[in-house]
């Protein structure tokens, strides 16, 4: 009972922190907007005479002191209004969210590859550290860390698209629309388009996760409970998977969660190489064309993702390891 109350308090406090961080991100976005962009340009364009601009500026409250404008911006943000895109002439949040499914499916594909490969590879390297295979995997992971993600993409395109002609090199291919969500996962063409980008994005995360799984497993295998499990005659596979891996996952979730910012940066690079129509690709388009409202909205969206993932990771760690709730409370 006490533990549940403590957990609830922990989650509440974590949510309050998340809200505060979100507020800070919005204030920064507002500052960037005021410093770099002229909101009037979003609305009327360049052609309106100066006198008329002044009148409009007053009418819209753009000559008000900045705290008033900030309050206005925050009130708008609370209703999902973060401005209008200069390129698309539509609400920026709508434009950014329309690109979210593409980025999400790319990250999903890459995460699946990472998960399916890194867990077995990491376990293997931990339980057979001297085997040739384990050394090869670790050697490959050193090489993998040294190859920039955009080069992996370029090499894959050169080999599989240009030389062999097996897989498409850019775009999402055919997509299906289910309500708001535009998915490429349900058509063969969409899946074919996903293969190379997802492989590219996974290539940069894979070495890190193999090392993480290996390190965490090595740690767990040294514990007494593993020896006890072996002593009572449990099969090795069961000891590795049911006992050690379960505990090894705790640090993995925590460290994996810390990587979300890096993951966003690598997704941006991958989307650029494959002209994948996701949020990162949109962001770079907004940067080249100085669409300040769209840029700040992307930053707010990315900040929101960052906060959500970090909060989820904390709550997940709590669920995975009940000790955290008792020790880390104060």
């Amino acid at each position: 009972m006490k533990a549940i109350a403590a957990s609830a308090a922990f989650i509440t406090r974590r949510l309050a922190q998340a809200l505060l961080v979100m507020l800070a991100i919005l204030v920064i976005a507002f500052a960037v907007r005021s410093a770099l962009g002229d909101p009037l340009r979003e609305i009327v364009g360049e052609a309106v005479p100066e006198a008329e601009r002044e009148a409009l500026r007053h009418q819209l409250g753009l000559d008000a002191p900045w705290p008033v404008q900030l309050a206005h911006y925050l009130a708008g943000a609370a209703h999902g209004d973060l401005g209008t895109s200069l390129i698309y002439k539509r609400p920026t949040l709508e434009v950014v969210l329309a690109k979210f499914p593409a980025s999400f499916e790319l990250v999903l594909g890459a995460s699946l590859i990472v998960l399916l490969l890194s867990v077995p590879a990491g376990i293997y390297c931990a339980v057979r550290p001297r085997a040739l295979g384990a050394r090869l995997i670790l050697g490959f992971s050193v090489l993998g860390i040294s190859v920039p993600v955009f080069l992996t993409g370029i090499f894959l395109i050169t080999i599989f698209s240009v030389w062999l002609g097996w897989l498409p090199a850019f775009g999402r291919g055919a997509t299906l629309r289910i309500g708001y969500w535009e998915t490429g996962l349900l058509t063969l063409d969409g899946l074919k388009h996903l293969v190379l980008p997802a492989l590219t994005l996974s290539s940069i995360m894979l070495p890190l996760f193999i090392r993480l799984v290996r390190g965490a497993m090595l740690d767990e295998l040294g514990h007494d409970y593993v020896r006890t499990a072996r002593a009572k005659g449990a099969r090795p596979l069961r000891v590795w998977l049911a006992h050690a891996l379960r505990n090894a996952l705790i640090p993995l979730v925590a460290v994996g969660g810390l990587q979300v910012g890096t993951l966003i940066a690598y997704t941006l690079l991958t989307e650029t190489v494959f002209q994948w129509p996701g949020m990162g690709f949109l962001f770079l388009e907004a940067v080249t064309r100085s669409d300040i409202p769209l840029i700040t909205t992307y930053l707010v969206a990315v900040g929101f993702l960052f906060v959500v993932v970090n909060t989820l990771v904390d709550v997940a760690s709590l669920a995975l390891d009940p000790r955290i709730s008792l020790e880390g409370m104060r």
């Binding site: 960037v32 410093a35 770099l36 050193v142 090489l143 860390i145 040294s146 190859v147 920039p148 993600v149 955009f150 080069l151 370029i154 090499f155 395109i157 050169t158 240009v162 090199a169 810390l258 990587q259 979300v260 910012g261 890096t262 966003i264 940066a265 690598y266 941006l268 690079l269 650029t272 190489v273 962001f283 770079l284 907004a286 940067v287 080249t288 100085s290 669409d291 300040i292 840029i295 930053l299 990315v302």
Partner: protein, 305 residues
Amino acid sequence: MSEEAASGPARGVLGYALENPGASLAAILLASIGLAVLAPFIAPYNPFDLSSLDVLDAELPPWWKEASDPRFLLGTDAQGRDLLSAILYGTRISLTVGVLAVAIQAAIGVPLGLLAGYRGGAIDSFVTRAADIQLSLSTLMMAIIALALFRAGLGGDALSRYAVPLLVVVIGLAEWPYFARTARAATQVEAAKDYVRAGRALGLSRIGIVRRHILPNIQSPLIVVATTQVAGAIMAEAALSFLGLGMPVTKPSLGTLIRSGYDLIFAGAWWVTVIPGLVLIVLLVSVNVLGDALRDALNPRVQRP
């Protein structure tokens, strides 16, 4: 004590190099790529001299292909620029940005780490916390955002003009925590040793002890961090330039060369982007291998066979 520390690592590095062909190979590769610093003297052409370019020379293949031209060993890019010269100059820019950025990282991180490690207490927890926060934000993402805002606010021209100092400062500011962490941990170990206590008993000033006695003794781990950080900085510069947020096409780094050759892959001229890419990878791998080798060679606790 200090004499031992000075001759030990030097002998260790040499001995290690003799026993480890991999590390020696990395060092040799690195040295040959390092020749790119002399690009203006050894490059066959000046890639910045637009008057020497001829569009008729565009997209020539490297020497092993049939249609190659003996004047251009590695072929040419879309403007007819000699790829070998462009790569030499580009490597020079990549190395410059990488080394200068790491110098800034060290200039911020090492003093903070020394301070935190030696003084402890509130200063220590402040520096540690600041380093944790900075690292959790992902340095590459922060650099992308900073340069993107600069470009969106002041335009692409301003970005190309100030690209080198901007890249150096952005990459330099982003990764100081690695130096701070290493310096802090090493200082904590050193500060508990007798020679530091003796210095204090002799009435030496705090700054004197830290600068003249602790700093020389924590050089080894700092050198190792610096090596891996140079690889990281070169990679970050390449990524930023590839995104169009770094070096301009008129003054290309390796990342810019990869970006500008990228469209030609589909026209069949893959070498324009793949060759600079391979140079970048060899550069990064050899710096990383060298960093690992230095870590083992300078660490007295590792038993060498």
